[in-house]
């Protein structure tokens, strides 16, 4: 019963995406490549090698993971609040047999789809630049999918809990951007002072970056792979539970 209803929610998102996909091209495909050129190629010329690989190749998995991260966070803010507040799409679904859990799962499935397309395109472009050095590279795709849910689910819970969209500006500035900058995307976390390093350890992005780096470069991960995966699963699981709970509350009385 639960499965097909979540699929109906996913279907709605896909029908909408068919109409809006051009608008997502810049953010999802062009920006990551620009980032790679500016930092990877431009700054990379001064860096030389990190952990025995070129700087470009070193940041590819980082930019890859942060692409999924940004889709996960960004697409769980205004669109989710909007479907509660302005479109009232979730209220429309609530009047049918679609359950809050279906709404959350359907949305997450859509975001995974979005992230996987963006990340796959990026991986191919990065490979053309010589930024991929291991046959394990495709393993970065499921990691990106998991990361997407690990951040999208808690942010969805947040979006379902607020009334005013100006909280999102704070989320972007105090969570998303710091997380992108201090999660081992551009430089190893070990360079940070001990205290700041813990911010990275707490960020799901860092765990995903470690896993992606292992995938595209064959480098060892900081912690055992199982620990990184477990942390992402934990974020995803807790986030999903929170999101479903907040949907129930908001669609209740």
């Amino acid at each position: 019963m639960a499965y097909p209803m979540a699929a109906a929610v996913l279907e709605r998102e896909l029908v909408l995406y068919r109409r809006l996909w051009q608008a997502s091209l810049l953010g999802s495909f062009v920006m990551p490549v620009l980032f790679l050129l500016s930092i990877g190629v431009g700054v990379g010329a001064y860096v030389g090698t990190v952990e025995g690989v070129s700087y470009l190749a070193w940041i590819v998995p980082g930019v890859l993971a942060s692409t999924a991260f940004q889709i996960g966070v960004g697409e769980s803010t205004y669109p989710v609040l909007g479907d509660f507040k302005w479109v009232r799409a979730y209220h429309a679904m609530r009047a049918t047999q679609v359950m809050p859990s279906d709404m959350v799962l359907g949305r997450q499935a859509y975001l995974v789809f979005r992230a996987l397309i963006a990340v796959t395109v990026f991986l191919v472009v990065a490979a053309l630049f010589g930024g991929v050095q291991s046959w394990w590279a495709p393993a970065a795709l499921p990691v990106a999918a998991l990361l997407t849910v690990a951040v999208a689910a808690p942010v969805t819970a947040f979006a379902a809990s607020i009334e005013n969209d100006s909280y999102f500006a704070l989320l972007f500035r105090f969570f998303m951007i710091p997380a992108t900058l201090f999660s081992g995307v551009f430089f190893p976390l070990q360079q940070l002072p001990e205290v700041l390093r813990w911010l990275g350890y707490a960020s799901p992005l860092w765990h995903a970056v470690e896993l992606c780096r292992a995938a595209t470069l064959g480098l060892p991960t900081e912690w055992p792979i199982a620990v990184h995966v477990a942390y992402l699963l934990l974020c995803a699981g807790v986030g999903l539970a929170l999101a479903v709970w907040r949907f129930w509350v908001r669609l209740g009385d």
Binding site: L26, L34, Y46, F187
Partner: protein, 270 residues
């Protein structure tokens, strides 16, 4: 010469007290809620975080850098660029999003124009406000640079007016662009454009490294001149090249203002 005559033309059409009234409206709006304050203040964190992450974090990987015969740490190289970016994005945020919102939805300007205030005065007032806001970011950021040893106090003092000019020129540009916006979807393009400038204007690595064609292309864009100017003054590499940067930015102010006021007149007074 052209710049001067346009400036004179603009000055002739502007009454300072009415401009002040437009600025005062913005200051008044500040008190209307905490959200605007928070967004205003937090806008300054972004370049600071980039400075810490790229300048200090990546800087440790890069080591020292030699540009134009001058050797400096990577953080010293990146910091002035972040200052210019901060001035740019502060001013743009005010004159694009907020300006567009007021123009299209709040009808603030229509209300203002029902009074003796003229479109050009609205434009100049809005612009001055964006410069005030940008200046706020600039002062804080320069303080941080001095504290981190990334600029001498003298260099910081010299960079302050330069950064203000950057804010002024991007504020004017943003306003001109806003009058062309059809809807929110156009802002995605603007954001991407802004992001591309941010990445390639000699911010993170010297433009001399880019292929020749790309380098010339970058030298035509505004943030490049802003970064060059602020960096030159902050690290004390003074040369005639800086005059070119200043002229570029001044011309941008004049051209944008002229364009914006014409568009505003057409949009609001038809």
């Amino acid at each position: 010469m052209v710049t001067a005559s346009i400036a004179a033309n603009i000055a002739a059409r502007v009454e300072p007290s009415r401009v002040a009234a437009v600025v005062a409206r913005n200051v008044g709006a500040l008190r209307s809620g905490p959200a605007y304050w928070v967004v205003l203040v937090s806008g300054f964190f972004e370049p600071l975080l980039y400075l810490l992450s790229i300048g200090v974090g990546v800087g440790a990987l890069v080591g020292d850098l030699t540009v134009d015969g001058q050797t400096m740490s990577y953080a010293q190289f990146v910091a002035p660029a972040m200052l210019a970016v901060s001035a740019m994005s502060g001013a743009l945020a005010e004159t694009t999003y907020n300006f567009f919102f007021k123009l299209k939805y709040m009808k603030t300007f229509e209300a203002v124009l029902a009074t003796p205030v003229r479109p050009m005065e609205v434009a100049v007032g809005e612009l001055l406000w964006s410069v005030v806001r940008g200046g706020l970011y600039t002062v804080i950021f320069l303080g941080i640079m001095v504290a981190f040893g990334l600029a001498t106090p003298l260099g910081a003092l010299a960079a302050l007016p330069a950064a203000m000019l950057v804010g002024l020129s991007f504020g004017a540009l943003g306003m001109a662009v806003s009058t062309l916006m059809r809807g929110w979807q156009d802002f995605d393009l603007l954001t991407t454009g802004q992001f591309a400038l941010f990445l390639f204007s000699g911010t993170f690595s010297p433009v001399q490294n880019y292929p020749a064609g790309v380098e010339i292309l970058i030298q035509l864009t505004p943030l490049y001149h802003a970064v060059e100017l602020v960096r030159g003054l902050a690290i004390g590499v003074i040369g005639p090249g800086l005059l070119v940067n200043v002229a570029y930015l001044l011309a941008m102010v004049a051209a944008s203002l002229w364009f914006a006021s014409r568009r505003l007149e057409r949009l609001l007074l038809e």
